[in-house]
Amino acid sequence: MQPTQTQGPDYFHKVVDCQWACPAHTPVPEYIRLIAAGRYTDAYMINWKSNVFPGILGRTCDRPCEPACRRGRVEDEPVAICRLKRVAADNKDDIASRLPSVPQIKNGKRVALVGAGPAALTVARDLAPLGYEITVFDAEAKSGGMIRSQIPRFRLPEEVIDEEVGYIASLGIDLRLGQRIDSLKDLMGQGYDAIFVGTGAPRGRDLDVPGRKEAAANIHIGIDWLSNVSFGHIDRIGARVIVLGGGNTAMDCCRTSRRLGGTDVKVVVRSGFAEMKASPWEKEDAMHEDIPIFDFLTPKAFTHEGGKLTGVVFEKVRAEYDAKGRRSLVPSGEPDQHFECDDVLVAVGQENAFPWIERDIGLEFDRWDMPVVDAVTFQSTHPGVFFGGDAAFGPKNIIWAVAQGHEAAISIDRFCQGEDVAQRPAPGVEMVSQKMGIHEWSYDNDISNDHRYRVPQLDKDASLKNVRLEVELGFDRELGFREAERCLNCDVQTVFAEPLCIECDACADICPTDCITFTANGDEDDLRSRLKAPSPNHEQALYVSSDLKTGRVLIKDEDVCLHCGLCAERCPTGAWDMQRFTLEMTHAGQSCRTR
C-alpha cells in the first residue's frame, strides 16, 4: 500500500466516526469533553453552531452518530451522544450574549423562506447575521414546522421548541406566521433576491383498501392526527387502537394513543420486526408502554358495521429475496387474521406536495413530480430558488434538514454575491498536539470501563396519564459526566512520524486493542490478513507509514483504536503524537466566498 495521505480534511475526519456520520458534521468528541468539564454553555454553543437545535435534537435526533460510534465496536453499546447533547442544553447558562449580532445596516439582499421548519430556520440563522433581510412565511400560527406539529410533547416539551426557535426569531427576521404561500409565481414577483423552499413533506400517505371510505370516521392519517393532538384539537381516541406502519411516526402515534385513552394499542407492520424503519430505541419505548408489535401482516380490508369501524383484516406474508437481495413480501398461505379495534391510525409514509408551485415558471419537476434539485447546492432549475429539508429529497430527519439548510445558505450567499454556486467551501481543519508533559495530555486518556447509562424516565403510570408530560428526565450532571467519560476522544488522532521511529515495538506491545503492526508492505487484503489482530472491517482505514529503517512499514488499523495515547506515551522518540483534529464546517459568510 502507498503511505497514507493524512493531509486534507478527509482522512482524520473519517476516524472521528460520529462527526463523519453526522450530516451537519458536529464536532461530537469536542463537545462531550466540554460536558465532562462542566462547561455546558460552551458545549451547547458548539452544537448550536453546527446543528442549530441542540435541545430539540438532544431529545429527538435520529442519531446517525451512535451506530457509527467506535465505542460500539469495542464493547456492547455506543456512547449516548444524543442524550449528552441534551445535558448541555439542560444545564447551560443564558446564551443571549453569545448569539451572533445582527448588523443594523443590511446588505441590500432580500431572501424569502417558505416554511418555518428546521431547514428554513437554519437558512435564516446562517444568513440573518450576514445582513440579509429574511422573511419567513408559514401557514401555522407558530414556527417550528414538523418539530412542533409532529413530534409529541411527551418527547419534546413546548418550552424547548419555543426557546430554540426563539433564538432564531431574535435575529431580526421578519416572521410571517399564519400566512400560507399559495403561489410561488406571486412570491417571485415580489422582488426577492432568492427564495428558499423548506415546506417539508406535509402529506401523509393513505391506505386504499376496502372499507376505507365506509369507516372513514375512525381512520386517521398519522401525521395529521399527531398535528391535531399537538395543537390541542384532539384529546381522545378509542380504547382499542391499531397503528399501521413501522416508522417513527407510527411509534409516536401508538404512544400518543396510549395517553389519550387507548388501553389496547397495537402496531401492525408489513415488514419483519427487524426491518422496521423506526429507530430501535423508539420501538423499545413503545413496547415498554405495553404496545405489542405484530409483523409480516399486510392490511387487506377495514371491517365495519353500520358505518362504524370494527377492525382490520390482515394477510400474513413472508419475505423473499431475489438474486439481487431485493425483498418482496409474498402471501404465506396462512389464514387471514382479523384484529378488532375502535380506531386506526395510518402511518405508512409521507409525501411531498407542491400544489402551490406553478409548473410554467422555469422550475422543472421530475417524473415523480418532485422538483429537480441539485444534491450539493440545493439549487432548483430556477437559479434563484433553492430547496432544503424534506421538501428537497423527501422525508428524512431534523438533522438532515439542518445540514441541507447550511448548504442551501452557502448557495444563497454565493448566489446573491454573484459567485458560482457549484464551488463549495472547504471545511476549516486544525491539528494541535495534546502533549503537555511526559505522561500528560490535555485530554483525559484514562479509558472508562463503564457501560452505557440508561436515561432516567418518568414512572410509566404517571407518564401515560398526560400527553404533555415529558417521559425522559434526561441525564443529571453526575450521570452526564459518567456517560461523557465513555467517549474515546476519537478526534485526538494518533499521528506517526517515520523518521523518528527506531522500531522498538513499544507501541505495538502496549496497544490494548492490538491496532499496531510492524510488517513487510503488501496490498490491502494481504496486509489485513497479516496484522496482529483480525482486521475484517474494511470500512475503517489502515494508516500505513512509508518505509522504515528495516524496510518494514508501520500499519495501524483505525478500527478499534481507543485513542488512549499509550502508543505515544511508550514511544521513546516521540514518533507517535496525539494531536487533536478540529474540523469546522464552513457556513455562509465571508469564508465561504471566493472574493
Partner: protein, 351 residues
C-alpha cells in the same frame, strides 16, 4: 512508564486459547520501565509464548533478582507465582523452589548485572546442575538503574553514552552456558519477536537448564552510535542461524519438511522443534561445534542468534539426585515417616 493503567477494553476478535484465556489474560501490571525499553518487548514475548502454549498461569513461578530486568516479572503473568529475590540470588532461590515443588514451571528472569556480575557464580551453578528452568537474561550491556556504567557483558571497544571506551573483556553468557552444560542455549533480540517467541516457547517446553541470552537495547543509556547493544548495531550484525517453529504435542504435527534445510527435534515432553536452517549448515545438536562457531563469529563482530544448542534427551537435577516424584508439599505423614523397620533396613545397608 505511564500513569494510567492499560485499558481493560481489548480487541473484540481476540481469540482465546485452549484454556479459554486471551493473550490479555497473561499480562501483568503496566510497565514502569523507560518508554521503549527492550525489556518490555521481552515481557510481551513471554506473554505471547505462555498464551500460545496454553499454560495455566497458576502453574508458573517467575523469579528474579535485582535490576531493570528483574522488575519485569511484575509486567507479565499477573496471575502466576512470583519471587523477587536478592541481587544475583535468583538461581539459588529458583533451585530451592524447584527441589521443593517440581511440578511448577520455573522462569528465571535476570539481567547482565544480576547474572554476569554479582550473581555470576549463582548463574554458573544453576546451569551446571541442570536445574529444570527457563533462564532468560535481558542483556543490555549497561547498568541502567545506576545511570549507564559498563556492565560485564559490554563489548571491549564499545563506547558509553558519555563517550568512554570500554577496555574490559566481555563475558559471553551464551558461551559460558554452553561450557557449563546447559542443555538448551539460545540467543535472541528484543526487537525480533518472530524469532524470540518460538525460542521462549521451546525453552519453556525443555526439560533441563534452558538458557536464553536476549539482547535488549537500553533506550536511555545504550542506544547510541558506538554501542554494540543498540537497535541499529544489533540489526546490522545479527546473524540468525535458524528459524524455529514449536509444535506442541496436542497440535497435529504438520511441518514443511524440506530435506537438508529443516531439522526436526522432539523434546522430552513430546513437543517438536522444527528448525529451518538459515546459516551455513549450522548443527544445533553439536555443542563443541556451536562453541567454535560462536567464537569465530564473535571475532568478526557478528552476533549469532537462534537456537544454538539443544539436547532433547537431557536429564535434570531431580534425575541426578533421585528425588521423590511428587512435590514435597503433597507428601503425607506415612510417606515421610516410613517407620522403624525401614530405618533399620537403611542403617543395615550402610554398615
Amino acid at each position: 512508564m505511564t500513569y494510567i493503567a492499560k485499558p481493560r477494553l481489548h480487541h473484540p476478535n481476540l481469540t482465546p486459547n485452549a484454556l479459554g484465556f486471551t493473550r490479555r489474560d497473561y499480562e501483568g501490571a503496566v510497565s514502569t520501565l523507560c518508554a521503549g525499553c527492550g525489556h518490555d518487548s521481552i515481557s510481551a514475548a513471554v506473554i505471547q509464548a505462555c498464551f500460545e502454549l496454553d499454560l495455566a498461569p497458576h502453574r508458573i513461578a517467575k523469579l528474579s533478582g535485582i535490576g531493570c530486568s528483574s522488575k519485569t516479572p511484575d509486567y507479565f503473568l499477573g496471575a502466576s507465582h512470583g519471587f523477587n529475590s536478592v541481587h544475583g540470588r535468583m538461581p539459588s532461590v529458583l533451585t530451592g523452589a524447584n527441589l521443593a515443588n517440581r511440578d511448577l514451571l520455573y522462569l528465571g528472569v535476570s539481567g547482565d548485572g544480576d547474572s554476569a556480575s554479582i550473581g555470576f557464580g549463582q548463574f554458573a551453578h544453576s546451569i551446571r546442575r541442570g536445574v529444570n528452568m527457563t533462564y532468560i537474561v535481558e542483556n543490555n550491556g549497561v547498568y541502567g538503574l545506576t545511570k549507564g556504567q559498563f556492565s560485564a557483558t559490554s563489548d571491549r571497544g564499545s563506547k558509553s553514552k558519555k563517550g568512554v571506551i570500554n577496555h574490559d573483556t566481555p563475558i559471553d553468557l551464551v558461551s559460558v552456558a554452553l561450557q557449563l552444560g546447559a542443555t538448551f542455549v539460545a540467543r535472541s533480540f528484543s526487537g525480533d519477536k518472530a524469532q524470540l517467541v518460538p525460542l521462549v516457547k521451546a525453552a519453556l517446553r525443555h526439560r533441563g537448564a534452558a538458557f536464553i541470552d536476549c539482547l535488549s537495547p537500553c533506550i536511555q543509556f545504550n542506544n547510541h552510535a558506538g554501542s554494540t547493544k543498540s537497535f541499529d548495531y544489533v540489526r546490522e550484525h545479527n546473524e540468525a542461524v535458524n528459524r524455529l517453529d514449536v509444535v506442541t504435542p496436542r497440535d497435529p504435527i504438520h511441518i514443511d519438511h524440506e530435506p537438508g534445510t529443516t531439522q526436526v527435534v522432539t523434546q522430552h515432553d513430546g513437543s517438536v522443534l522444527a528448525l529451518h536452517k538459515l546459516g551455513d549448515h549450522y548443527d544445533p545438536s553439536d555443542r563443541v561445534g556451536a562453541m567454535t562457531y560462536l567464537a569465530q563469529k564473535q571475532a568478526l563482530g557478528e552476533i549469532v542468534t537462534g537456537l544454538l544448542y539443544v539436547d532433547p534427551a537431557a536429564e535434570d537435577l531431580h534425575d541426578a539426585l533421585g528425588t521423590v516424584d511428587a512435590p514435597l508439599n503433597s507428601l503425607n505423614t506415612a510417606e515421610l515417616t516410613p517407620g522403624a523397620a525401614r530405618l533399620q533396613a537403611l542403617n543395615a545397608s550402610l554398615r
